[in-house]
Amino acid sequence: MGLLRRHGPIGTACALAAGAVLVAFLLLIIVLLAEARPVVDAGFLVDAPSRFAARAGVGPALAGTLWIAFLTAAVAFPTGLGTAIFLEEYAPRTRLTGAIESAIANLAGVPSVVYGVVGLALFARGLGLGASIVAGSLTLAALALPTVIVVSASAIRAVPKGLRVAAHGLGATKWQVIRHQILPAAAPGVLTGCCLAFTRAMGEAAPLLVIGAAAFVTFAPGAPGDPLTSLPTQIFAWTARSQEDFSALAAGACVALLVVLLAMNLVALAVRHRLRGGKR
């Protein structure tokens, strides 16, 4: 076999693994598209859910997901990056700081449904936001926050010491060093990590279901206070129904969700590319 001769046994095993992943991914897309075909039409992306599968669409859920993506990032990104900057650059290296850091790292591994329960108590009931887009976004922001902090902190930590020393040595203030040397050098790492955190949060159904996402929202949310709906919760609601047509709708919604996540990744990729290119 040519593969074996060219890459050796371990290389071949790795190549087969990569091939299997590719095949699995293609199968996923093909199956979803095939499943979705019978009910998905031109109006699918704008229509509201309906009792009749043929008339149903993901309009409100898609709008909900876009709202949530925007609000979650708007809350979690500045908070998380700010926390990471504080922990790495300002906080004294004490045992307390170490304890806070490992607590945050552990929070990154807490199951999403737990965040749902916290969100229900804190945002939906405590703040009286109810089962709204903003309550869902805050919950997902809380879910993404530990990951955003951990990846940003490690990207900041990875910036070569020499850069800091050189910038301080040239009479830059602490903030100038952070703003002009550390953040640009850490940006690609921060962006990659945040992208992972946000796309994971976007795909979550469990915490939103706990808060009380509605399965039957007939109008696209136009404000943060509107009823909570999103693609993952819509998919869950449709797969829970027995009629076959609804599982086709769920497959269609899955395709829409994948496209949204892919688009988010592409934007991050483009920004990262510009950051790298901008350094020249």
């Binding site: 020499g162 020393v165 050189a166 040595g169 040239l170 009479g171 203030t173 050098a185 020249r280």
Partner: protein, 259 residues
């Protein structure tokens, strides 16, 4: 308080230290260093590696306090003003006393942006291009980079990088130039160019060089100090120190018995 304003008479040393002691944790890196550096002279600090040369230089522009656990006592004065005084901003100190480091760490930006970083940080309001040309010329790099100031600094050779670091520091128009082993990572040709640069800077700068290269100290400096295990054993005119050292350990170091 303006550091450069007071005490600029000819008798006031540009830089002086008195009973300067630095500890890291429980370990003493420098003990009771006292010396004065006259204006317009080149001073070398020589000594075996780990003797505290870098720490001493970093005291002069308050870089040590960026290291966790560093405790400094004693005084360091610029033009007679105590640099650890209550109203002195360490950022301002670093703008007055520039430092070139052993490792030429450039910013991942263009040649021009590297030179402009310091002046921009301190809010320089003049023409940055004029300033950059002056600094690059003084560092002996202008003719090599004049054609493409927007080229990435990372593409320069090791010797050019170090000269860019010097230019970057000169752009701040500092009173004092500190150089920590400026040529230890360079080949002989590049070293010769840096030394020529230092020579040309001599006329209007006060320069302090830390080096383990004895010949370099002898070639470049008016005054030399021998630092050994955190103590300044000997300090005086370069020629006297090299030809007629007073301490046994200085002699041992100069003859290569301590390295």
């Amino acid at each position: 308080m303006n550091i450069s304003a007071s005490g600029t008479g000819p008798e006031t040393p540009a830089l002086s230290a008195d009973a300067l002691t630095v500890r890291f944790g429980g370990k003493t890196a420098l003990s009771e260093i006292s010396l004065s550096i006259p204006r317009g002279r080149v001073v070398s600090i020589i000594g075996p590696s780990g003797c505290g040369k870098t720490t001493l230089l970093r005291c002069f522009n308050r870089m040590n306090e960026l290291l966790p656990g560093a405790v400094t006592t004693g005084t360091v004065c610029l033009n007679g003003v105590d640099l650890h005084g209550e109203r002195i901003d360490p950022v301002e100190v670093r703008r007055r006393i520039g430092m070139v480091f052993q490792q030429a760490t450039l910013f991942p930006k263009s040649v021009f942006d590297n030179v402009a970083f310091g002046p921009r940080a301190s809010g320089y309001s003049g023409d940055l291009h004029v300033l950059a040309e002056e600094a690059l010329t003084a560092a002996g790099l202008w003719s090599e980079v004049a054609e493409d100031l927007d080229a990435p600094a990372m593409e320069l050779s090791a010797g050019q990088r170090q000269r860019l670091c010097i230019a970057r520091t000169l752009a701040l128009k500092p009173d004092i130039l500190l150089m920590d082993e400026p040529t230890s990572a360079l080949d002989p040709t590049a070293t010769a160019r840096i030394e020529a640069t230092i020579h040309s800077l001599k006329s209007d700068h006060t320069i302090v060089i830390a080096t383990h290269n004895r010949a370099q100290a002898a070639r470049l400096s008016d005054l030399t100090g021998y630092l050994d295990r955190g103590e300044l054993l000997e300090y005086g005119p370069t020629e006297t120190l090299f030809t007629n050292p007073r301490k046994r350990r200085t002699e041992h170091y100069l003859t290569g018995r301590i390295s």
